[in-house]
Symmetry: C3
Subunit: 435 residues, 3 copies
């Protein structure tokens, strides 16, 4: 193949970046089978449904709830009063204060506009009523197809918390609930590592013969529990979110969390050939009144990740950290361990200036051997903006790096760009899964 | 109003940014009533005066004293010898070594040039004598007007340390000393929180019946002291500077500083409806020979700020931190608490590359709900450069963010730009004060 | 001299930056006298030689070894198997996987391409065999001249670890081994400060009468040891690499490392008038299977550096830190102490995006009073790419800063650019040495 040529390079990268499908490795999205609190055109809805979508969910995303409480503080609108409002009233409140009373330039606000525009609606009209009308005509199942097509997503990875009764009961009630081929499941079991008292009690309730002390028999039962659920939901990996204070102290670390991690979780996953994902750095509920928006960030311990990667060469680890101040050290750690895959710019890092600095740093340190982004979408249509914004930044970094090597005489052709882009958007993750 | 149009957007933002007045929320400036060590054309001067201005003060700003000791180190010019030189000799030394012997490209050097140029002098002449001559013809009181006009400042917020005898005695001697409407007062009482032994002794000396133990009676007297001084100086908020090691441990934290903060300071401010400002992260006097230039920076504890915002919902907090490594976490904390207003890029952060990364990150996380900058000026004319440099960066970030939302079809008109710029330069602070 | 003029400024800076010689203050390079494992055209080689050069050394640089183990993980190619391969086989493996199977855009990969191109080879050919052929025709001694000429290096500073037997014995065997005027020596003695048990035993073996307890007599012998070796190798400074956990606790700190630092090392260096270099932040061998590539980074304690600079005003310190999160605080510390010279962007920081942010921040805080870069080259030809990439970034920052001051009317002429560039590339270091 002839080289693309420096003058066409940027355009070619942008084109391939925007047309190559993404496998989104971490979201909080669900197929229609999990029910949705948003009304279908038929009028049916499931008030406790897990699949969130539509304009009112977009506007009441917890990122925007946090932001509206800065401009209409609780002394003007108490938290309880906000939470008593209907979803539509909350959305109206947010629209008024974050979109009309000031220019919607925070990343979360901008995301709503990008999403509307790509769905064919006109943000220039600033007409919430008309947007609502359009969404009311959509039916979730086909809407998923449309959103995936617009966002360029080939597969959506769910997060399936087994200690959440609402979710757990749905899996127990319907064996085929997870069969939608557009979605992949992930077994999430934070309480196992973070709160063994609670987790152990639940396991007993669910028929696993565990004691509070972590005897060999108990460990065996925890392993059985993990195997059962991995198999029930067909998990492609397992996951936990861990606080900034998470430490793994090695084989001498006898805390319940570390013991279960070392003796139950990791051997089971090694046996099953599944990676373990750790999202580290979220300090939970520093402001409980904000609900999902109440968590904050803290610096985490990369050394603990290093110790895990070193001590468990048979395991593979997918790791993201929430603190900006961990990103360089984490990328360096990935240079040391092939079984460590860094991924994404999580939550408070999923902002253009930070995505760019992190992506640039990762490419410089790791080439293309990382997963640049995941969406963390909680509302279906967020896939659109999260990926559009991220793709533009990844493309920008890639063009700069290609230009640097082309300046030496190394010429890049279209096939190579396609290969690199595919690798970044899905291949790196896919190959890591398949290892 | 019609949209501005993408082609005119940048110019419009820059124009409005440079013509919209700033309320500078933290400086160390004073009106002429506080006296000035710089000679008036009439020949009068107050050697201990607090109002600093003029070319020799600009050149001997402690930022530049620190820098000159790197290029003429103490082994060549001992500290004591430098401090024995007259102000004009010090200025000559700095001019020679930082401006003539090398190109003045540090931010503090560049600031002097910007200031001269905006005052109508020509930095291209490199003629210190002629600059001095011009300054000698100025009279402070009208010079303040001119500087504020050039810098586009509507109001200058002072810092009024009540434990500084030079300043305190001036307030006691002249009831109307603070009546200059161009200036607003701020009660600063670091020793109350940082050194109760010293502060308590002083309070007793000043007629407040306090004991070293923090009995209820003592707390009541501390509260009376705060009320007295807030009312005497008409403080618009109270302030402390805290070291990187500052911790607030919650209601169980019985250290004197935390006890006074919790039981005396915050309830009094809640009662008076005034915000509490905390500038956190300055490690004092690691090199005492440098005087004001001898402090350094350390990473602070954002969790303590979170605890204060959570435990004192009736109080409002203005917070800035000195460490770059605290900026992301602090901006995230502000997403959690409407009573937390982050402000400014302080001291070692007030450099273009850092102001830009911090401002960009804050806009992405907080929209416009923060105070992007304060000048921290100690010498009157620094207002000019600090704000010219900062405005250019804030405008640049704003243009990028406007362009991002305009790309979705959301169109911005002049009135909206004006609204956003006013909010950033004065409104956010003003509304926070008025809450 | 007339000003350069804004339109010619960038070109002039780039020209002077690329033609002004560099004194590279830290490398791991050696003159031919130290032997080389790479074959000369004559067929001679020294399998344990220290002077690394040639295409196979470039391709098996430990940065690239780390990177290849991410894409061909140890589960596919075990570490031991890789290490058993010949150097050429390792190079082939890395060429295939990091250059052909994916685009070589990591900084370490790009560096190989820049190096080839500047040596007159064509990276566009992707023809490793032809590159090898070219290198096989080079003779090290004249190749050093060529590389220095292409890279624009006036002097290469070695690192000479006295506790390394291979190196130590070469110095003992040949008095004139270090006489190549292109190279300057540096005495490196990490074990003295990091492992007194080992170091003390070695010193006894080498005829110094030291005991494990740090008696006055022992300290005197350690001082004699340092003097002996400084004089034998004609060291221009002494150096240690220290872990992130390094602490200097002041005069009360009685740990062996701190005692030797305080009582033996620093007084001896003050006496000899030599600076002490500290490279802080490398956590050794978190993955020993990777060999030289197995170290990682951790955040270090700037306060310990401050304490040293404060307590030892008669000493001069050259300091670099490996963690990105130390860079701002370290640059601020340099504002406080004229005897602290910050230098370089070390190892995991020697990536374009980080070099740029660090250089920009340092210029803003320190003007030109720092050493922007060192190469840390281990393979001779790396000098070419490390300096070409760094010079481009330093030039970019300088142009921006010049433009900022020119905007005020301050005009810059060619002589001044030359002066500033010389200062950054060699003068700052040279004057610091000579102080
Ligand atoms: Mg940056
Ligand atoms: Zn998530
Ligand atoms: Zn201040
Ligand atoms: Zn080195």
């Amino acid at each position: 193949q002839p080289p693309v040529g420096t003058d066409r390079l940027a355009a070619e990268v942008q084109l391939l970046m925007s047309t190559t499908p993404v496998w989104d490795l971490h979201t909080h999205l669900y197929p229609a089978t999990f029910g949705s609190p948003t009304c279908e055109p038929t009028g049916s809805r499931d008030p406790n449904g897990l699949a969130l979508w539509g304009i009112d969910e977009l506007l009441t995303y917890h990122y925007l709830v946090a932001e509206v409480f800065r401009v209409v503080p609780p002394c003007e609108l108490p938290y309880e009063q906000f939470w008593k409002m209907s979803k539509q009233e909350q959305a109206d409140h947010i629209w008024q204060h974050l979109f009309l009373d000031r220019t919607p330039i925070s990343e979360a606000c901008r995301g709503v506009l990008t999403t509307l525009e790509r769905l064919g609606l006109d943000p220039g009209e600033r007409d919430l009523a008309s947007y609502r009308k359009w969404f009311q005509q959509q039916s979730l199942d086909s809407h998923i197809d449309r959103v995936m097509q617009i966002a360029g997503i080939s597969r959506i990875t769910m997060t399936n918390p087994v200690f959440d009764d609402n979710e757990r009961n749905r899996w127990l009630a319907d064996e085929s609930i997870g069969d939608d081929p557009r979605f992949a499941a992930v077994l999430r079991f934070d309480p196992l590592l973070r709160d063994w008292d609670m987790a152990g009690a639940k396991l007993r309730e669910w028929g696993y013969e565990v004691s509070q002390e972590l005897s060999a028999a108990t460990i065996a039962e925890v392993r059985r529990f993990i195997r059962d659920w991995v198999s029930r939901i067909k998990a492609i990996y397992c996951a936990v979110s861990l606080p900034p204070g998470f430490r793994y102290g090695g084989s001498d670390d006898l805390t319940p969390g570390s013991t279960i991690f070392r003796d139950a979780v990791l051997p089971t996953l090694a046996e099953l050939g599944l990676p373990m994902a750790m999202m580290i750095g979220s300090e939970l509920q520093v402001n409980p009144s904000l609900g999902d928006a109440g968590d904050t960030v803290g610096k985490s311990d990369v050394q603990s990740v290093i110790r895990l990667c070193h001590d468990f060469p048979e395991n593979r680890f997918l790791v993201t950290m929430l603190a900006r101040e961990n990103q360089h050290e984490l990328a360096v750690a990935a240079r040391k361990f092939g079984n460590l895959m860094v991924f994404g710019c999580w939550w408070f890092l999923n902002n253009p200036s930070l995505v760019e600095e992190i992506t640039r740093m990762r490419v410089e340190l790791l080439g293309t051997s990382f997963v640049p982004q995941h969406s963390d979408a909680r509302v279906l249509e967020q896939l659109i903006y999260k990926w559009e914004h991220s793709r533009a930044i990844i493309a920008k970094v890639l063009v700069d790096k290609y230009n640097d090597v082309e300046a030496t005489g190394w010429k890049i052709n279209e096939e190579e760009i396609r290969r690199d882009v595919q690798h970044l958007l899905s291949g790196a993750f896919e190959k890591f899964l398949a290892r």
